[in-house]
Every structure is written in C-alpha cells, then in structure tokens.
C-alpha cells in the first residue's frame, strides 16, 4: 500500500466530506478571520450613512480616525498578548504611567523633550517587562499579574506626578507632535493616526513573515507542543510583554498629542476598549488565532458605532449598550468559527 486512497471509501466518510453552504461559510471565515469584522464595518458604515449623510463627510471620518488612534495603537500590544493566550489589564495603567513620565519629566524635572520621550518609551518597555517576568518566571496567570500591576502602575503614576495633570503649554513640542494635522485632500489626518497605522503595518509583517511572529502564534496555541518543537517559549512570551509595553508607550505619545495634555486620569477605559477591539477583530481569547489587522477593524467598528449612533441622535447610553452586544456577538462568532474543521 503506497497511499491512503484519495476519495473517501465508506459512506460514513462520504457523509463527513459532504459540505452544506453553511459549512462552506464556516470554512471561509475560518481561513480568513478578517472577513467578518470587515463585513460588519462595511455594513455599519453604509447603515449610518443612510441614517445621516453627514457620516460620510471628510471631517467626520477624520474625527473617527482620530478618536480611534489611541485605542487602535494600544490594541496592537493587547492583540499580541492575547495571541499568546494571555490578557493585559494593565494597558491603561502603563499608558498613563508613561504619558505622565514623559510629560512630567519635561515639565517638572526639566528634561529635554526628546529625552523625556525616550525615557517614556524605556519606562513603558520595562513596565511590560515586569508583567512578562511575572508571567514567565513566577508562572502566574496573566490575568492576575496584570490585575496587580494595574494598581501598582497607577499608584506609581500618581506618586510621580503628584496627581497633577500637565497642561499643553508646559509640554515640549515633540510630545505634542502626534497631534499635528496633515491635510490629505479634505481629510485631516494627524501624525498620531499615521503612527498607529504604521504599527499595524509593522506588526502585520512581523507576525506573518518572521520566525518570531510564527512563534507567537505557536506558543499561544499550544505552549507545550511549541517547547517540544524547539521554540524558546519563555523568551518568546517575555519578548511579547516587552514589545507590548513599548507599544503602550507609543500609544501614550499619541494620547498626549490627541488630548494636548497629560492627565493621570486619562485612558482609564483603555483596558476594556482594547480588549473589545481585539475580540471584535476576531482574535481568539484562547490564543493562537487571529490577525492583527482585525484589531484595527475592531477599534474602527466601535468608533463607527459610537459616532454613527451619535449622529443618528441616539442616546449615549445606547451606544455603550450596542458595544456590549457587539462584544458578545463577536465572541459567539469566534466560538462558532473555532469549531470548524475546514
């Protein structure tokens, strides 16, 4: 016997190989996880444009992009952590910590602008590293680790900044650079939006085309199999938390530019907003599955719903309600897709 016969031999196998249209949809969604969030985004945009034509005005679309920039950037870090079957509840805390470190270093301690930016990036990376060390060395669940560091980092933020917000005039120009407008036709894009998009380009490449990226998926899907296959699991996990911390610091930079100030109370919603974006974007909370661009789509979907519902004159509370429903629907779809054996 040289090969298993190609056509299934017995009726039972024939039955297994028969595919209904629904199973075909399953298979396609399984193979292309970005499809369902893209579909939702397109439908939502069309529906909101129908409800209020002003939705499509360049000024409004530019506004959505700017509103999404911070969460979109932070979601990159959250996504790679969730891909390793982890979760990061300290996103907001690290973002605020680094934003305050950047601004306060310059405003209160006289550090030059570029240096304070660099200090912020280092602090963000180290904060992510603290999470990573606790997860990999002490083998604590990421949920618990980041729940703890969430509070630690927030406390450090308040200690370092004395709880005082730092206003625009005291912040060096380089930290506000991310808020700068760039006119593209009648659209007004900020450098912060471009920086966020650049993060997606870079991490799409890294995850798809480098060994590190493949290892992130492998470790998230099956850590023990990855170890036996020769992947340095601990090093991969640690690198993910370090990189995520660096991304959060970039997100903090975008935040300062967007708000034009640095406040210790900003970004308090970042934890849930990033997890929402990641989940709506089709990345599995169980790890190993998903694509980074899905998180951008997820962030955009939330942004479009909030904006579109507001334009349609719907109460703010209903916007929040809709976002909640979206999350549940997205996870339900994810569970459904995961069951598929294409």
């Amino acid at each position: 016997m040289s090969n298993i016969p190609a056509p299934p031999a017995d009726p039972a196998e024939l039955f297994l190989h028969r595919r209904t249209p629904l199973q075909r949809v399953h298979g396609i969604l399984h193979a292309y996880p970005a499809l369902s969030p893209t579909f939702v985004l397109v439908i939502a945009a069309m529906a909101f444009a129908y409800l209020n034509p002003r939705f499509y005005a360049p000024a409004n679309l530019s506004l959505i992009a700017q509103q999404v920039a911070v969460v979109g950037a932070l979601a990159v870090g959250q996504t790679i952590i969730i891909m390793t079957a982890g979760i990061d509840l300290s996103v907001g805390a690290i973002t605020v910590l680094t934003a305050m470190v950047m601004a306060a270093s310059a405003a209160n301690y006289g550090v030059p602008g570029p240096a304070s930016l660099a200090i912020g990036l280092v602090v963000g990376t180290l904060a992510g590293g603290v999470n990573g060390v606790l997860v990999t060395r002490l083998r604590l669940p990421p949920f618990i680790v980041t729940l703890g560091t969430l509070n630690v980092f927030l406390a450090l933020t308040l200690l370092y900044s004395s709880g005082q917000a730092i206003q625009g005039p005291d912040i060096p120009a380089i930290l506000l650079w991310t808020g700068q407008d760039i006119a593209v036709g009648s659209f007004r894009i900020t450098t912060g939006v471009l920086l966020m998009l650049a993060l997606y380009v870079v991490f799409t490449y890294l995850l798809r085309n480098t060994a590190w990226g493949r290892h992130v998926y492998a470790v998230g899907d099956d850590a023990e199999a990855s170890r036996l296959a020769g992947i340095p699991v601990t090093r991969t996990l640690l690198s993910v938390y370090l990189v995520a911390g660096f991304i959060y610091a970039l997100g903090a930079w975008i935040l300062i530019g967007r708000v034009g100030a640095a406040s210790p109370n900003a970004a308090s919603d970042a934890n849930l907003d990033t997890i929402t974006a990641v989940v709506i974007g089709g990345t599995s909370l169980f790890g190993g599955r998903g694509i980074i661009i899905g998180s951008l789509l997820g962030a955009l979907i939330v942004g479009v719903f909030r904006n579109g519902l507001a334009l349609a004159g719907v109460d703010v509370l209903f916007q929040t309600l809709v976002v909640g429903v979206l999350v549940i629907v997205a996870v339900a779809i994810d569970q459904w897709i995961r069951r598929v054996r294409a």
């Binding site: 016997m1 298993i4 085309n209 290892h215 199999a225 036996l228 020769g230 190993g288 294409a342």
Partner: protein, 261 residues
Amino acid sequence: MTASGQPSPVIDATGLIKTFGSVVGLDGTDFDLYPGEVLGVIGDNGAGKSTLIKCLSGAMVPDAGEIRIDGMPVHFRRIQDARAAGIETVYQSLAIVPALDIATNLYLGRELRRSGFLGRVLRMLDHKAMQRGAKAQLQQLGIGTIQSITQTVETLSGGQRQAVAVARAAAFGSKVIILDEPTAALGVRESAQVLRLIRDLRDRGLPVILISHNMPHVFEVADRIHIQRLGRRAAGITPASHTPSEAVAIMTGAVAVGGAA
C-alpha cells in the same frame, strides 16, 4: 539485522539514573542502538521507558550515567542539544501546533529565512522554500494525499498528523529518530501506514527507536527489542528469539533474564 557483526553503536548509554524525589525513574539503565536497525522499547507503565527516551532526546537531564553518540560522550541540556546531534523525536503528543499550517509546523523552531537584505535585516521568512521542502518531504515518505501544504494541521486526520510529525523528524534527523507511541491513537489502516513509514526510514539508513505498548506492532517492525523493567534494562531480545508472550513475561517479571542481547 542484529548486533552479531559487532558494529559500534550509534547511541549507547550506561548506568543512567534519574529520580523524581523519592520516585526512581531510571535505576542505572543501559541502552544501545546500532546502525540501520529498528529498536523496539517495551516495558510496563512506570518501567522508565519515557524517562529513558526523554534523557536520550534531551528533554530531561539524567542524574548520573553516560550517554555516548558514536562512542563520544554527550551531555544534552536541552532538546535543541540532542537535535543538533541529529536526534529527532516524535512525541506521543506529536508536538504539532494545530492552528499553524503543515509547512510552518515542519520548520517550527528552525525556519528558513530569505537570503540577502530581506532575510538578514528584515528577518523575512522564505515561505515558498519551506512549502517546497515540506511537500518534498511528505512525498518522499509517500504521504501524497494531503491536499495542500498550507492547510492547518487541525484539518488533518490522526494518521496524517502523525505523518507530518514523522516527516519533520525524518527531515532533520540525521542520526536517530525516536518515536514515542506512534500508533497509540491510530486506527488499523493508519497504524499500518506509520509502520510502513518506520520501515522506510530504516531503509533510508536511519536507525529508529520505537516505544510502544502494542506488542504486535513492535514484533512486526522491530529488529531488536529492549525490555525495560523497574528502571533497568531487563533484557535485549529479537522477534526471532522470543515470542510476544515471552516478552510480556520478562516485562512483568514473571521470567527473570540475565544480561542483554
């Protein structure tokens, strides 16, 4: 083939000891594997089969004893050390990542990068070369029925997954291939295919270590059988010299045998 011609062993080990707290996994076991043979390793639960194999494959470090490859002492600290020495292991769990495709799984942990700037600076993977290599490897082992090399492993049957894991070992194992319970989860037809793969590997000159609970399978493909009992090698037999029930008797201690084949 037996060791009667006295070629030197590919791997041999003497006095391996491994304890886990008060539990003794290996109690001074010896081991040898000769060129071009399929060596069956059998033993009751807790006899130390898995521990022995883990020591040989670098997944565990023995407390005492010596492992030699081609007569040279080696000290494996990690799986990567054993791999560098040409020893590849197919674990019972297969060590395959379901969500990744076949080609990616085959090259997991030793991915091929593009040449030049793309590979060296941008660390870009050479997906095409890996897919070509994976395809060639699967065909070489007579596993041509997989529809696409880019399909995820979770879409494969148990036998196909096993084949992918064996193909990975065969692609990189230059010295020895270790198979841990390769037929345990398979049906009759798929088991037969895996046994055929084992013979193919031997015919290509690679010695194979086959750990299995399945006596008929071991007696079907093994040239020699290492019987592990209570952390030691109880006997070395051949399918010609002993019947399966005699092997079971040695395994369980019903019959005491001195020395090794």
